[in-house]
Symmetry: C2
Subunit: 329 residues, 2 copies
Amino acid sequence: MHVLVIGAAGMVGRKLLDKIAAEPGALGSDIDKLTLVDVFEPVAPATFAGIAQTIAADLSDPGVADRLVAARPDMIFHLAAIVSGEAEADFEKGYKINLDGTRWLFEAIRIEGQKAPYKPRVIFASSIAVFGAPFPDKIGDEFFTTPLTSYGTQKAISELLLSDYSRRGFFDGIGIRLPTICIRPGKPNKAASGFFSNILREPLSGQEAILPVDENVRHWFASPRSAVGFFIHAATLDLEQVGPRRNLSMPGLSALVGEEIAALQRVAGDKAVKLIRREPDATIQKIVSGWATDFDTSRASKLGFKAETAFDDIIKAHIDYELGGKIPA
Amino acid sequence: MHVLVIGAAGMVGRKLLDKIAAEPGALGSDIDKLTLVDVFEPVAPATFAGIAQTIAADLSDPGVADRLVAARPDMIFHLAAIVSGEAEADFEKGYKINLDGTRWLFEAIRIEGQKAPYKPRVIFASSIAVFGAPFPDKIGDEFFTTPLTSYGTQKAISELLLSDYSRRGFFDGIGIRLPTICIRPGKPNKAASGFFSNILREPLSGQEAILPVDENVRHWFASPRSAVGFFIHAATLDLEQVGPRRNLSMPGLSALVGEEIAALQRVAGDKAVKLIRREPDATIQKIVSGWATDFDTSRASKLGFKAETAFDDIIKAHIDYELGGKIPA
């Protein structure tokens, strides 16, 4: 099987590749070829035994999608996007990369299929940003998509395209709406959502972190481990079961910031909790108040998608993945 | 005020123009200029006192949207589309006209606004085809859009673009999801939905009509008069009230085919009803069984949109509009 990963240098892409390298049968069939694409040349997993090609390219540039699809990959993970803040700051760039990039990929597959039968599986990374406030207490599987960002709009449009191209038989697609990933590895960044991870990751490594909102802010989380699990499951799921509604809100854990902190206390003790410094920021508080807090993801759960059900497990996943299994002394 | 109507030669476009010509203040301000566009050159209303320009052009062709917008119309009705059957039969044409045409219009407005402040009102004709079965008994204002046609997909994507461009302040847009228009004037056509109108229009003119489904088929209707009323109301409504969720399912009347026939009997007697010939068609019955049957359109009703509440009134609207106020002897 030939697997194409677009957006292979991103956080989820890298973890997906680690998983594939560690468990060669994870995607159902043996993988003899990996093609890895990102705007910066991605790194192939060192332990992968097959052919790995790495390409630095922008999917939204002319001809890129055609060239990638000409090799007729059997499975395509489309994880490439610019993030919400950048898509809001640069309207044209957001539509070019997040909408046109996706559409040109889908079109390239359709046109390749006109030469000889071709129907790859396409697994698309979408986002809960397709939803916009006000929300019900729990966002159900049939709630409408009224995004309040250009990023969310671009994801919602891509979802509609994915369903239509799948319905027409051009490929077999599935859209995975990710919860906020927590604990995001790496350095603290300036994303408004960064603190949800920062207040756990930094104290776990003995560093101070800033909490800009109060403890009764509620949000929707899944670990990087769960995110990889969603994509692996989507790659191997019988999509006949899914039917024409191809985009699924993934399971996650609805938790208060206070519950994050209580879990940190249980896993890493008071010493860690004391490293959280409260610096209320009205701007961030306001942005966050417009975000989804809880979901009913019955469809995805019935289809076998799984996430953590306790915040302690989200923290432990980080300790296992990023800290070699134990909290630094 | 300069008003641009794209799709001016279609049924709703022509009726909208008749209304504007008959009531020059219907859109809130006096209209000194009308620009009318369609793929075939539209006809300006004879009684319109201002400047009327008619243009044969395809909005999805390069440069057309830019040229139309360069005149900086204050109000833009975007009614142009190819219909569901054609968009399903010709995938590329459907996306070109129904998606790209709309997007290039929106982009032309955004780019025009970069030269000097410009924020027209945009009234967009959408459709209940944005929804796809299975449905709840009544489709509410927060039900998700999972279209089962490429046409519905193109309308749903256009709705998302309209909301995002409005949110960003590039124009002030509103999307109007029309019920099935009944009674459609003109000759019987081969659209699967044609019989809903045919079984009333033809007998009212002494002609036979074929009913291909049974009488307990339920569907969602509004008259051409109501459709024009929706667009007129959308043109003058304070859109601050509407907020960021810019696309509205319009009110309508949920009725059984049997209720259509009972209303025909009340309005035009047994003679008319006897002209309906039953010829069951399993294909049409199956297509129709996937269509929406009823809606809860509370939002639109609260915002002042109105439709008929009795089928007799839908028939009387046709007699008033199309038959000069009385049934031919």
